[in-house]
């Protein structure tokens, strides 16, 4: 039911309700009032008939008392002039008729009359029976009849008038209610139209301008205030959209406070973003610088590794040469053992020299071991990022020094070998010694060959490690460049963010 009611317009409901009330009142008037008016009219007629009977009885008193028919007839003849008069009958005390008017209309029935008049209604005629009292008491009775057609006509006229007036009141009431409803609903329609345009985003609507003092006027004033608030909100939103976070929000109430809090929050957020962007820009710059340094350092490391590699290659080549030389020594020693006996006399010297060579070779071996260890350490260090790369340079340097020492030792071996060759040459004459020396030399050369082969193997492994380190460092440089490019991009982003944040106008916020 509520759905049906709310689907009907307010004006229609108002008109329907009041029309129903008016219709109910009209029906009540039409149903109740005529009967009530009929009762009143009948009562008035009874009173009038009673009065007429009383007057007529008074006038008849002398005529009836003195049995004066003419006098009595004259007395009742005046009743003919009375509206709705129908008949009259005057009886003597003994019941005989003295005079009458229209006796044919008088019912046969007689009514016992006491001190009070008796009024009866029969066949649309109101009859009254009354005693006629003279000086000697009751001298006769008077019976009068009055047609009620006039009363019925008057009742019908009343009923017709009531119906007409009720319909007129109903129509006029409905029309007035329609006009009042239109007057009441008109401003609401205007407000609804403006509200729909506002809902469509059009805030350019002028104020309603309704100056009424009633509830509708109050609603219109409230609507104007709401429209003003929406305009203020739109203005604030426009300012915010243009990045103007400065100035004061001149809006009252919870909405104004919320907008103020929102603006303050955005202002604080923009401030924080600006600060973060600045910090981010600084950090990105620092990262960029560090990465530049790291890249340079890595490049240096790569250079060091390259140099170490070259050194190790030289060492490797030297070891090869040594092995080749040792092989020559071995061949020479065999040739010496085979060809010269004199070398046996210098075998002891050669042996001592060979011992020295063995010691040097031991040193070489140690150096090779340390080089290997350093290479390992360098490899470990190289796996670390940043500052650890610097330590690798030291390792590389150390390895370079070791290489130099190896080179020097080799150089010493070479010179010693020259001495050996010289001693071998001087002792070639001594076959035993030479032979013994040749055998020893052969053994030493074989051992040198073995050692140099081992050294070559080690240096080869170092070279491989160096190559791996070089590859790692190359990858590291590539990664560092990519990181530096990213940090550059980050710095530019921070700078752009700072520029964007800078577009927000924060001045005047605290004024």
């Amino acid at each position: 039911m509520n759905v049906h009611l709310t689907a009907i317009s307010l004006r229609a409901r108002l008109v329907s309700l009041t029309s129903l009330i008016l219709l109910a009142v009209s029906l009540a008037l039409i149903l109740i009032l005529p009967s009530r008016i009929g009762e009143v009219l009948q009562q008035r007629m009874e009173e009038r008939v009673a009065s007429l009977a009383q007057v007529a009885a008074a006038a008849l008193t002398a005529g009836v008392e003195f049995d004066d028919a003419k006098n009595s007839q004259e007395s009742i003849d005046g009743l003919r002039l009375v509206t709705d008069f129908d008949y009259a009958l005057v009886r003597r005390a003994n019941g005989t008729v003295l005079v009458s008017i229209n006796p044919e209309r008088i019912p046969d029935s007689r009514v016992a009359v006491g001190s009070q008049s008796v009024i009866t209604v029969h066949n649309g005629v109101m009859r009254i029976d009354r005693a006629v009292t003279g000086k000697v008491g009751v001298v006769g009775t008077l019976t009068l009849g009055f047609s009620m057609s006039g009363l019925q006509l008057e009742m019908r006229a009343w009923q017709r008038n009531i119906i007409l007036w009720s319909l007129l009141v109903l129509l006029l009431g409905t029309a007035v209610n329609y006009i009042i409803g239109t007057i009441l609903v008109g401003p609401i329609h205007m407000i609804t139209s403006v509200a729909l345009r506002i809902a469509g985003g059009d805030l350019s609507q002028p104020n309603l301008g309704i100056t009424r003092k009633d509830e509708v006027g109050q609603m219109a004033a409230a609507f104007d205030r709401m429209l003003q608030l929406l305009r203020g909100l739109a203005s604030v939103a426009d300012r915010l959209g243009r990045g103007d976070l400065g100035g004061k929000v001149l809006l009252d109430g919870q909405v104004g406070e919320a907008i103020q809090r929102m603006v303050a929050g955005q202002r604080a957020l923009v401030g924080q973003i600006s600060e973060a962007a600045m910090k981010l820009g600084g950090a990105a710059t620092q990262i960029y610088a560090v990465l530049q340094e790291q890249e340079a350092s890595t490049a240096k490391q790569a250079g060091g590794v390259e140099e170490v590699s070259r050194t190790m290659q030289s060492l490797h080549d030297s070891a090869g040469n040594i092995a080749e030389s040792a092989r020559g020594v071995f061949e020479n020693a065999q040739r010496t053992r085979q060809t010269t006996d004199g070398m046996s006399s210098h075998a002891t010297t050669l042996n001592s020299h060979t011992a020295r060579i063995a010691e040097l070779l031991e040193v070489i071996r140690d150096i090779a071991d340390r080089s290997d260890l350093l290479a390992l350490n360098a490899s470990l260090e190289a796996t670390r990022a940043g500052e650890a790369g610097r330590a690798f340079a030291l390792v590389a340097t150390e390895m370079r020094r070791l290489a130099e020492r190896v080179t020097a030792s080799v150089q010493s071996v070479k010179s010693l070998l020259v001495d050996i060759r010289s001693s071998a040459a001087s002792t070639a004459s001594s076959t035993n010694e030479s032979r013994q020396l040749a055998e020893n030399t052969t053994e030493s050369a074989r051992q040198i060959t073995l050692v140099t082969q081992q050294q070559r193997t080690a240096t080869g492994q170092v070279l491989e490690s160096m190559q791996e380190i070089s590859a790692i460092l190359s990858d590291s440089v590539t990664s560092t460049r990519e990181i530096r490019a990213s940090s550059e991009m980050l710095r530019r982003t921070a700078q752009h963010l700072n520029e964007v944040v800078g577009k927000f106008k924060l001045e005047g916020a605290d004024k």
Partner: protein, 192 residues
């Protein structure tokens, strides 16, 4: 004349008479006025007349000073009142006659076609005869002495209780051929 207005006037006249402290004795003029008013209530007045005049006879006892004095006063008063007066369409004519005997009275009344006779004092012994003649000639009889009414005359006037009383001998009036309206009878003191 409107009957109801007349009776009101009659009552007023009676009241006016009694309102005077000296009205204990009715004057000739008042008596004459009452007689003329009462005649107006007679429905048979015109039938009892000659159709033109309402002849009123003042009957007195010759040689009786009081009777003659009253006769003179009444004749003068009635003549004054009847001048130009019309009752039931009849002009009023007043005649005095000294009572001698019933036959002479009968002849006189017959010759005058009298409609009323006022019987002055001094004729107490002749009342029965006068009544007989009046009834014979259908002449309404008036008197100032209510005792005469009781004796057979029709209408008398009396002063009592500070008001004038019209005394009506109802059988006598009907015997004299008078049909008085009940309205008059209602205010009168009746002998039935």
């Amino acid at each position: 004349m409107n009957r109801r207005a007349a009776i009101v006037t009659l009552i007023s006249a009676a009241a006016g008479l009694c309102s005077n402290a000296e009205a204990a004795e009715l004057g000739p003029k008042q008596l004459g006025l009452l007689i003329l008013r009462v005649l107006a209530y007679d429905r048979n007045l015109k039938a009892r007349s000659d159709g033109k005049t309402a002849s009123i006879v003042v009957l007195f006892q010759e040689g009786n000073q009081a009777s003659e004095s009253l006769q003179i006063d009444m004749e003068n008063a009635l003549e004054d009142l009847s001048s130009g007066a019309i009752i039931s369409g009849l002009a009023v004519k007043v005649t005095s006659y000294a009572y001698a005997n019933p036959a002479a009275l009968d002849a006189r009344l017959a010759s005058l076609r009298a409609v009323a006779v006022f019987v002055c004092s001094g004729l107490g012994d002749a009342i029965p005869n006068i009544s007989t003649v009046a009834r014979k000639r259908s002449v309404l009889s008036f008197t100032l002495n209510t005792a005469f009414v009781k004796s057979g005359l029709s209408i008398g006037f009396a002063n009592a209780d500070d008001r004038v009383h019209i005394v009506v001998n109802l059988p006598a009036t009907r015997a004299e051929g008078v049909d008085l309206d009940a309205s008059l009878l209602r205010i009168a003191d009746l002998y039935r």
